[in-house]
């Protein structure tokens, strides 16, 4: 026959109340551990949610066709091969379920306005890019039209960063003239701020010009750097990828089964990569926090060992009046579980409170998952049992006569 759980818990609170400060300090390790696990997971998931919403804003039914085969370092990038042409882009645009195609050429070049100059990336593309990228809208003037494209008009649309550097006094750029690589262009529009991309690139440090203008007037090339292809819907992404791949394979005159000299990349792949990365970040944060839980557990073990040797006489008395080894073991084990559980409850309150505070003051979403709470409590119980067992066994294995005569 062993003691009832309620009796054991009563004994534990009696003992822990006798040494309030020490009990609290022992719990502190668990409190901090549980609170930080919950907060870190909340922050990690908040970051994940934010990344997801940004990627979704780019449109997950958009894919990119890049020249060059899938290399050792991921997809080939623009400029490493010259295998894509405007004609192929037109052919892709005629495929079923393809909503929009925007061929793109990118080169770095020096841009000047009056005495100011700025080196930036010149992007030559067609007006259909505005349908593909949701951030591509103007706050001043207009984007270039199909007519501008057809006539290779020397017109440019500026990103915010370029405008700030060429027009330091903040004047309206529309209607003014700039030079790109010495060629004069009329500014017809200013883009809204698009912020940083997922890769951390400044998406405002661009000048957009019609594709034909870029090819003929600026770079003297006939090929294109890449094309952005938008499928009619989310469901059509996979068929479009297959269609585009087959078409380009054929147009490039590659024998069946030969490796492609281009790469089709879909944003949903990037999405899942981003998800993987932020998931790993969450796991990493939680792991670091979990280490503090283990440290807290060692604190519990330390104090329980002290407690067992301080209370050797009490153990002897209890054994003299009939406590079995199991009774003593259970008593001390319960004490360390009560310590870690009480600590974890306080930790939950603190962790959830901190998550709410972070989202209120830092305007950053911190969704507290119930799973993280359950996991933190389960881990705390595990810590209590794991680190409480050794001291408890030490107490239970004492010889009654020796324990009683212990000074």
């Amino acid at each position: 026959m062993s003691l009832k759980p309620k009796t054991l818990v009563d004994f534990s609170f009696q003992a822990l109340k006798a040494n309030k400060l020490r009990s609290f300090l022992t719990m502190l390790g668990i409190i901090i551990g549980v609170a930080s696990v919950i907060l870190m997971i909340a922050i990690g998931q908040g970051a994940q949610a934010q990344v997801m919403s940004r990627v979704k804003a780019l449109g997950s039914n958009v894919m990119m066709v890049l020249p060059g085969a899938l290399g050792r370092f991921g997809a080939g990038s623009e400029g490493t091969a010259q295998s894509l042409t405007l004609e192929e882009a037109s052919a892709v645009a005629r495929l079923p379920y393809v909503a929009n195609v925007a061929p793109v050429v990118r080169r770095a070049a020096l841009v000047t306005h009056g005495a100011n100059s700025w080196t930036t990336t010149i992007t030559g593309t067609t007006p259909s890019i505005t349908a593909i990228s949701s951030t591509m809208s103007t706050v001043e003037g207009r984007f270039f039209s199909p007519a501008d494209e057809k006539s290779a008009a020397p017109v440019a649309v500026l990103g915010q960063t370029v405008w700030q550097n060429l027009y330091p006094n903040g004047s309206d750029p529309v209607g003014t003239t700039i030079t790109i690589k010495g060629v004069p262009f009329t500014v017809i529009g200013l883009l809204q701020s698009a912020g940083a991309s997922m890769g951390g690139n400044n998406q405002d440090d661009f000048v957009y010009v019609p594709l034909k203008t870029a090819q003929i007037r600026l770079f003297g090339i006939t090929f294109i750097g890449l094309m952005e292809v938008q499928a009619a819907g989310q469901k059509e992404v996979t068929p479009v990828i297959n269609e585009v791949t087959a078409l380009l394979h054929r147009l490039h005159g590659l024998p069946p089964g030969a490796p492609n000299d281009f790469t089709v990349r879909n944003l949903s792949q990037i999405l899942s990569t981003a998800q993987d990365i932020s998931g790993m970040l969450t796991l990493f944060l939680a792991g670091v926090a979990a280490i503090s839980l283990i440290v807290g557990g060692i604190g519990i073990m330390n104090i329980m060992l002290v407690s067992v040797s301080e209370r050797t006489r009490e153990i002897g008395i209890r054994m003299a009046i009939g406590a079995t080894q199991r009774d003593i073991l259970n008593q001390f084990l319960t004490e360390s579980i009560v310590l870690s559980l009480t600590g974890s409850f306080i930790g939950i309150v603190l962790g959830v409170g901190a998550a709410v505070a972070v989202s209120a003051f830092a305007h950053f979403p911190t969704p507290v998952s119930s799973l993280s709470i359950v996991a933190a409590v389960a881990f705390a119980i595990f810590v209590g049992v794991f680190f409480g067992y050794y001291p408890a066994r030490r107490a239970a294995n004492l010889n009654p006569a020796d324990a009683l005569s212990y000074e």
Binding site: T7, Q14, I317, M319, G322, T324, R326, P400, A401
Partner: protein, 235 residues
Amino acid sequence: MSAPLISCQELTKSYPLRGMEIKALNGVDLAIEDGEMTAIMGASGSGKSTLMNVIGCMDRPTGGRYLLDGVDVMSLTKDELAHLRNRKIGFVFQRYNLLPRMSALQNVLLPLVYAGVNAGRAANRALAALEMVGLAALAGNQPNQMSGGQQQRVSIARALINDPQVILADEPTGALDTVSSAEVMTILKELHQTRGVTLVIVTHEADIAAYCERMITMRDGRITGDSIIKGKRGA
């Protein structure tokens, strides 16, 4: 005559101490009948406390045989020994050994908690036991709110709560003044006479031993004297 309640044959107990072997008990033969009130006397180091620990099932002898109520104690497991202490033996210690931060009542009923008696019944029995030692009014007091004599009476109440067959008292008056000592001994004597509890009292004071009916003296781990002071049994 029935078998004795406590029967020791050739008991030895030795401890290793700095590479030497200390023989605390060196062949003790002892029989104590049910209902006896016995004093064990001896100087410190004579082995009387060790004998008490062995009789109380708190420690195992190194050799020999010990039967308690016909049961060979050497053959029992640690848990069985715990149950034996809980049911058949009551302890009274020199330093009372009450648990701090627990009321007198909680201290007295603790053996019942380990026996699995339900809380309500345990509290009633504990209150009755405190009544018997005249301390029912102090049931809610913690040990540090009571005098030494009162604490010792609480510990007597704790010792008798489970209706043990034998109460072992190790220097029960060692820390008490004369008046409290007399009170404690009167209570023990009364328990012996009214309930027929077997009492074994370890002491080194002759006037305490004088309360008993039989006196055993020990020296160097052996029994050197065994005399009936005033007996129910003929000598």
